[in-house]
């Protein structure tokens, strides 16, 4: 490598380091603001004192209501935004790398279809056919069902696309679309059977919300999502090799079949857990990786961590808007991510098509 090329690489690495640092700082600031604002007027100082008191640093002198709002409503909710945001963005990036398609998102491998079918099944038949499940799992029935649904459909899609020659990415895409149609039909039938109250519930579920966040959901989803967030970056180099093409990656010594299986499994866990706790939050998995790729380039070693941080930041901001814009009512967060994400994505498509980059 020539000296000038080495210099360029160093400059690039420096830029990436700085960007990651700035993003991380911005995310922590957003996290603090997120705990500090909401429909209830609580001063930033009071909000922070609750957190510091919880961590054992100081005595908090706020009222019980303020304490309970900050520690059992805002804090778990903000942490859930961080978890779900990073998980959706990272899984989106991994899917796009795996399918070598900039439009890929976790919906393609059946995650969202399976999760919504299971969730709608519980909403509509939870009171009758599946009431025994509710008696075992209580409030978490819907989440556990959505997660299992996501996981099972993804495994099914992957099974359909796997032959003795390995997993074909093209068949997987087609199988994903087909399963999506089948689960969509199931959701349609259940929607037809639903009564007025259930219809409303399932409509709102499909718009996404972090409103149900409690410490136990944070803990449950956090465990699953951490697995994905820790393990996916280990595949960064493999994903880089896959960008060249499957046979090229094989020649570079990548065990392509194993890598594919593991990435799909990790994405199913990450997205499944996110959808289970927050419903459908669209566009995060699509636009966040795109923004990062446009600014930092396609190297997955930087792409994945940057996506994790930017995804968390994006969802924190979207959730703050969701909570405050029509307070004391709440606008579903899925609507906000789509309202911001849709036009942004179109603008990006237009500018890239003009310069023939897509």
């Amino acid at each position: 490598m020539s000296a000038s090329a080495q210099l360029a690489v160093d400059a690039k690495a420096l830029k990436v380091k700085w960007s990651l640092m700035v993003l991380t700082v911005a995310m922590f600031i957003a996290l603090l603001i997120s705990v500090g604002i909401g429909p209830m007027k609580i001063s930033m100082y009071d909000a922070l004192s609750v957190i510091l008191a919880k961590a054992g640093f100081m005595e908090s002198q706020v009222s019980n209501v303020v304490h309970s709002i900050v520690s059992s409503i805002r804090l778990p909710r903000s942490l859930l935004a961080v978890l779900v945001g990073s998980s959706l963005a990272v899984c989106g990036a991994a899917m796009q790398g795996l399918f070598r398609n900039p439009l890929a998102d976790p919906g393609l491998i059946g995650v969202t279809g399976g999760a919504s079918l299971a969730a709608v099944l519980m909403i509509v038949l939870g009171g009758t056919t599946f009431s025994w499940l509710y008696s075992y799992l209580g409030d978490y029935t819907l989440m556990i069902a959505a997660f299992s649904g996501a996981f099972c459909t993804t495994m099914l899609v992957s099974k359909i696309a796997t032959t003795s020659f390995g997993t074909s990415v093209t068949s997987m895409l087609l199988a994903g679309i087909a399963i999506g149609i089948v689960t969509g039909a199931g959701v349609g039938i259940l929607t037809f059977m639903a009564d007025d109250a259930q219809l409303r519930t399932l409509t709102f579920w499909a718009m996404g919300s972090l409103g149900g966040a409690t410490w136990s959901t944070v803990l449950a989803a956090g465990t699953m999502i951490s697995i994905t967030l820790f393990c996916l970056p280990m595949h960064a180099k493999n994903l880089n090799a896959l960008l060249l093409g499957e046979s090229e990656a094989r020649h570079l010594g990548v065990n392509v079949e194993k890598v594919k299986r593991q990435i799909i499994l990790l994405a199913a866990v990450g997205v499944g857990a996110s959808v289970a706790v927050s419903g459908m939050i669209g566009f995060v998995g699509l636009i966040v990786p795109h923004i990062v790729r446009l600014t930092l380039g396609p190297d997955h070693r930087y792409l994945i961590p940057a996506c994790a941080v930017l995804g968390a930041l994006f969802l924190l901001v979207a959730d703050m808007i969701s909570r405050t814009i029509i307070a004391p009512a709440e606008l579903p967060i899925g609507l906000i991510t789509t309202i911001i994400g849709g036009p942004f994505f179109i603008a990006m498509l237009v500018s890239r098509t003009r310069s023939n980059q897509l």
């Binding site: 209830m40 309970s68 109250a197 409303r200 519930t201 409103g211 409690t214 307070a327």
Partner: protein, 286 residues
């Protein structure tokens, strides 16, 4: 030991006085409950309402907590209520739990249709607000209204067949089957639901409309695509029904007709008059 017993006695006797004082700030997550609070003249205690609270019109000027099945925990808490009044179908449950954990008392009432539920809501709220006398008077007025309608209905020999049309948007007709608010109010007003083959609100085919042969079409009075308006009777299917032939389309404000609130007596009487316009009113006065 003795001192302990005295303390215990003092605490238990004073506690209810401290805790159970009539709540002065209330958030309502149901339109019919809001109506009852207004009917009891206790609206000054309301600090927030949901989007179904549209009557009386002043209720809509109070802070909005959103749709009753999709309320936000912090949104409600920011209004600092002592009590949240809701029905069984308000929610989500997980949010109500969070609100309760923050120290707000939650009073839930049944969401099922029926006069018993109206009574339970009126008397329950009156007790909560410590205006029992006003509550009894309000229920008395409702039951008098209902009795007046029943007296009229006793002369009816052949009940009319009524089809409730929820909406005609999107080309298909959404009609009410059994087990709905609409089904219940039709029954209370002396009609028979023309459709009993299914429960809830479902789309039905043109042929099913013809074969149901309703004498009256009942709709909510509201604008836009839901209305359908007078031209509904001229539509395919509807135009072959007795309702269209005799031009009998009845429209009523949705909250009045289906709210199962304090105005239910008025709703029933108006529907009876619309269903049976030829009933001899004079004969029932005695």
């Amino acid at each position: 030991m003795k001192i302990n017993v005295i303390w215990l006695f003092l605490c238990t006797s004073l506690m209810p006085a401290l805790v159970l004082g009539a709540p002065q700030s209330i958030v309502s997550a149901d339109g019919s409950l809001t109506e009852i609070v207004y009917a009891l003249q206790q609206q000054h205690r309301l600090v927030g309402v949901d989007t179904t609270s549209k009557y009386p019109a002043q209720a809509a000027t109070l802070p909005q907590i959103g749709y009753k099945r999709n309320i936000s925990a912090e949104g409600v808490l920011s209004l600092a209520p002592q009590v949240l009044i809701a029905t069984e179908d308000s929610g989500p449950d997980i949010i109500l739990k969070q609100i309760a954990e923050a120290g707000v008392t939650i009073e839930r009432y049944s969401a099922k249709p029926g006069l018993a539920v109206v009574r339970e809501k009126i008397q329950g709220l009156a007790k909560l607000l410590e205006v029992e006398a006003a509550g009894d008077a309000l229920w008395q007025q409702v039951s008098t209204d209902v009795a007046r309608a029943r007296a009229k209905l006793s002369q009816v020999k052949e009940p009319v067949k009524v089809m409730f049309v929820l909406s005609t948007a999107g080309g298909s007709v959404l009609a009410s089957g059994a087990d709905t608010m609409a089904d219940a109010i039709i029954g209370l007003a002396g009609g028979v639901n023309a459709i009993s083959a299914f429960t809830g609100y479902k789309p039905i085919s043109v042929e099913a409309i013809v074969s149901a042969a309703p004498d009256v079409i009942l709709m909510m009075a509201r604008g836009g695509d839901h209305g359908g308006g007078e031209d509904l009777l001229a539509r395919e299917g509807f135009k072959l029904t007795p309702a269209a032939i005799n031009n009998r389309l009845v429209k009523m404000d949705g909250m009045l007709m289906l709210g199962f609130g304090p105005r239910i007596g008025e709703a029933i009487n108006r529907l009876v008059a619309d269903f049976y316009p030829r009933l001899d009113v004079a004969a029932t006065v005695q």
